[in-house]
């Protein structure tokens, strides 16, 4: 069983620089063609400061953490047994190319179902830009398969 004493644990915050090329690559990998994700001028004509990151991009910044998915180490998870159960984003602003985003995650809850066959870890993550604006808050549920 996962260590429920880790509920409330906050991971060390880190900053991630959002490069223009990274956004373009991400947008290409999902088949996106809207120029607001590729072209500065098109983004500005659409009313944005510059190229914006697609809606689910913030979670990609989680992987910029010094350790790949720090929750894996903290809870001693076998990465082959993790499934993504759910994901929520609340948006308060835009994530732009050139931003430096501070990523802060904590373990909101750990619980189990089916007599422990499945365990659930709820992570909450704040994304704050270089101007101290909270631009996005995410919540994700990881499902851990036991046996």
């Amino acid at each position: 069983m996962l260590d429920k004493s880790k509920i409330g644990h906050q991971f060390e915050p880190f900053s991630a620089d959002v490069e223009k090329g990274r956004i373009k690559f991400f947008a290409q990998s999902i088949g996106e063609t809207n120029p607001v994700y590729f072209n500065e001028q098109a983004a500005q004509e659409a009313g944005y400061k510059t190229i914006i990151a697609p809606p689910t991009f913030p979670m990609s910044l989680d992987f910029e953490s010094p350790a790949f998915l720090p929750v894996v180490g903290l809870l001693q998870l076998d990465i082959g047994r993790i499934l993504h159960g759910s994901q929520t984003f609340n948006y308060y602003g835009q994530l732009y190319a050139g931003d430096s985003i501070k990523v802060t995650s904590k373990i909101k809850d750990i619980f189990d179902k089916k007599g422990g066959a499945l365990e659930f870890v709820i992570l909450e993550t704040d994304y704050v830009n270089q101007d101290d604006e909270l631009i996005c808050q995410a919540s994700q549920t990881l499902v851990y398969r036991n046996g």
């Binding site: 290409q28 809606p55 990609s60 990465i79 499934l83 948006y91």
Partner: protein, 133 residues
């Protein structure tokens, strides 16, 4: 002015069949290098028949559905549950329908029921989005 109301359908988005290149590119672009999505040897050791798609790939497709419909600056909330695994060769279609028009944080918004589904009708992601109108 808006013509968005309960029952408004979003233009559906059908994606090319998922292949190994799709997953390799998304792994690189998203930063999610979990080998369960890219390394068949690892996937088999984990009890799977093969690698399978990142849930976040399909969520990104649903994001395209939403931002094709309305500018991203209007997106307020976006949530999904991952209800089935997306396998190689699956053809995913994203669709959505406005199910409510309501005040969200003192702003007129539409609540949109969204889903990603396979050809055989299996829903892989179901969720909701809140979009300012």
């Amino acid at each position: 002015m808006t013509d968005i109301s309960i029952g408004t359908q979003l233009p559906a988005l059908t994606l090319p069949a998922i292949n190994r290149t799709t997953l390799a590119l998304f792994a690189g672009a998203s930063g999610d290098h979990n080998p369960i999505h890219i390394d068949i040897d690892f996937a088999k050791r984990a009890g799977m028949d093969d690698v399978f798609a990142h849930g976040m790939l399909s969520m990104a497709y649903l994001g395209r559905l939403l931002t094709n419909w309305q500018p991203q600056s209007k997106l307020r909330k976006f949530e999904t549950k991952f209800t089935a695994i997306t396998q190689l060769r699956d053809v995913i279609t994203c669709s959505g329908e406005v199910i409510d028009v309501f005040e969200y944080n003192n702003e007129p918004c539409a609540k949109v029921a969204i889903q990603a589904a396979k050809d055989d009708g299996t829903k892989t992601l179901v969720g909701e989005a809140v979009v300012a109108i």
